[in-house]
């Protein structure tokens, strides 16, 4: 199962300030651990909302609203997607996530489980050979 760790924005992240060295190192260390455990699928920091926009759907019309947006704590500053065997394992990994805006700064991360496609279904063992017949090992 996949989970996304959502890091909420801060005034600094919204200002586009680069994080302090210690924080960068903590984040790199944590993500390195995830990668070495084979758990990390994807991660990225996001640019400030001043470089983004919203589309508002209203009364059957669409309106483009340029950033920045005021409600900083509702905004997203980055995300990490992990693959875990269980909810508990995901919980344990996320517990280790570094304080996202520095060790002593108030902050919040939010973890949500991704919907999986109706991944795998029953059948029998013909397809690999069929695939092979179609030119695929």
């Amino acid at each position: 199962m996949r989970f996304i760790i959502i890091v909420k924005a801060s005034p600094q992240s919204e200002a586009g300030a680069l994080p302090e060295e210690a924080l960068t190192a903590a984040m790199a260390g944590y993500h390195g651990q995830l990668a070495k455990a084979g758990v990390l699928l994807d991660a990225s920091a996001l640019q400030p909302s001043s470089k983004g926009w919203r589309i508002r759907y209203h009364g059957g019309r669409r309106e483009v609203i340029d950033g920045p947006f005021a409600e900083t704590r509702e905004l997203i500053a980055g995300y990490t997607i992990i693959q875990a065997r269980s909810r508990e394992e995901a919980l344990e990994w996320t517990r280790r996530f570094p304080a996202p805006h520095g060790e002593n700064a108030d902050a919040e991360i939010e973890v949500r489980q991704l919907f999986e496609r109706d991944d795998f279904g029953p059948g029998d063992a013909v397809e690999q050979a069929r695939e092979m017949g179609a030119g695929q090992a």
Binding site: A35, K36, A37, G38, V39, L40, L41, D42, I81, Q83, R85, S86, E88, E89, L91, E92, W93, R117, D118, D119, F120, G121, P122, G123, D124, A125, V126, E127, Q128, A129, R130, E131, M132, G133, A134, G135, Q136, A137
Partner: protein, 425 residues
């Protein structure tokens, strides 16, 4: 005892057990003993954490506890001098081998001690003195952190069978005095091939289950993906480690499209490509690029990944670059020749250059002993003959394939194609 603490301990254990076993194994030089000691540490956690609470750094707690126990054990058995001597010898040997940048090597070792321990553990669990079954079981148990029961369930065999297999494997390793170390030079490549083989075997067992009623067992696929991702990080300079994970990510990206709503398998060229997992494709393509950058474009896994990548890059089946696929199969046939690769090559050549060229390759395979009961040979041959308008021969080949088919639906499909070619003249 609150069950949430138990769940937390279980989760911590799954995350940490491989590192702990690996760290302890470096001290005691025996993975069986290392696993026992790691288990002791787990038992200590089960005793203490429910009352004292889960420590802030549970992994470090377990590691420290396990290492203390390992030291106790070494002292108690008066083995410590002997083992220290052994470690000393190894350091000297290492120094002798890499004098020019010994300091660099030490620095690298310090910064990545855990990674190296884990690699040693993987190499030991996949050691060639062990049978393939034993390597698979030991790898899932020690590296994946699966319980014996879970390994047994994954392979649909009774738990005592797996338990015995693991015990015997550990005994074999001890008896053969397999050192807990990283292979070097040429040995590294041979041993790495053994590790990659084990991981891909686990993947394939999940991707095309050979036993049981489920056609795919996603848990096994996911375990193999996890191991493959680990390996690509830990052995980051080895191109085939990236080649293998590229191949597995690309194959796994198609998982949701391989079965239709009624649970029937869907052919690759008929799959709904919108159901392919873009994240896994992106990861697969990135890993393939890495393998190629490291000079490994012609490794067998990288080549298979490159073939899978041709499909992944095509937005529709009709856009598939068959000329490139045929060239990749040519390369694969020269690095890792096998009749099955050759048959695949024929299919790709047929798609790229027409049925006549493909038929020549297929015909050359007809005397191959390994292909005598392989229904895909007559079925591919039939398809090519039909495209060439040689309907009578095609019909006979479809019927021959039908007789070799492993299940009723497959047989019906092949007979249908035979009938579609009309009555014999």
């Amino acid at each position: 005892m609150p069950s949430t603490t138990h769940q937390a301990i279980d989760a911590v254990w799954r995350i940490e057990s491989a590192r702990i076993v690996a760290g302890v194994a470096r001290m005691v030089r025996d993975i069986g003993l290392a696993e026992d000691i790691a288990q002791d540490a787990l038992i200590a956690a089960l005793e203490h954490w429910p009352t004292d609470g889960v420590p802030d750094n549970p992994g470090a707690w377990l590691m420290t506890t396990a290492k203390h126990r390992a030291l106790d054990r070494l002292r108690r058995h008066k083995l410590i001098e002997e083992k220290l001597e052994q470690v000393g010898h190894e350091l000297e040997a290492q120094q002798a081998l890499i004098v020019p940048d010994f300091v660099d090597a030490l620095d690298a070792a310090r910064s990545d001690e855990i990674g190296d321990d884990l690699l040693r553990l993987i190499f030991t669990a996949c050691h060639p003195v062990l049978s393939t079954d034993a390597r698979v079981a030991l790898t899932l148990k020690l590296l994946g952190g699966l319980s014996t029961e879970e390994v047994a369930r994954a392979f649909l065999v009774p738990e005592p069978t797996i338990a015995q297999r693991i015990v015997r494997a550990k005994r074999t390793l001890s008896a053969a005095q397999v050192p807990f170390e990283l292979p070097r030079g040429e040995a590294l490549h041979e041993r790495l091939a053994s590790v990659l083989e084990v991981v891909y075997l686990i993947f394939n067992e999940g991707y095309t289950a050979t036993a049981g009623s489920d056609w795919m067992r996603p848990d096994l696929c996911n375990e193999a993906l996890r191991l493959g991702r680990m390996l690509a990080e830990l052995a980051a300079r080895e191109p085939e480690a990236h080649g293998l994970i590229a191949l597995m990510e690309l194959q796994a990206s198609r998982a949701a499209a391989r079965v239709d709503a009624a649970g029937q398998p869907v052919l690759l060229l008929e799959q709904n490509r919108e159901r392919w997992d873009r994240l896994l494709i992106r990861r697969g393509l990135a890993a393939l690029e890495r393998a190629e950058q490291l000079g490994g474009a012609h490794g067998p896994y990288a080549l298979q990944a490159a073939i899978a990548a041709c499909h992944a890059r095509a937005n529709a089946a009709i856009e598939t670059d068959w000329v490139r696929i045929a060239a990749l199969y040519d390369a694969l046939a020269s690095t890792a020749p096998s009749p099955v690769v050759e048959l695949n090559r024929a299919v790709a050549v047929g798609m790229a250059f027409g049925p006549a060229a493909a038929l020549a390759i297929v015909d050359a395979l007809r005397d191959e002993p390994a292909m005598q009961s392989y229904q895909w040979l007559p079925s591919v041959r039939a398809d090519l003959l039909a495209k060439l308008g040689r309907n009578d021969e095609a019909r006979a080949e479809f019927e021959r394939a039908a007789a070799l088919a492993r299940n009723a639906r497959e047989r019906a499909l092949l007979l249908e194609r035979a009938q579609a070619l009309g009555k014999p003249n």
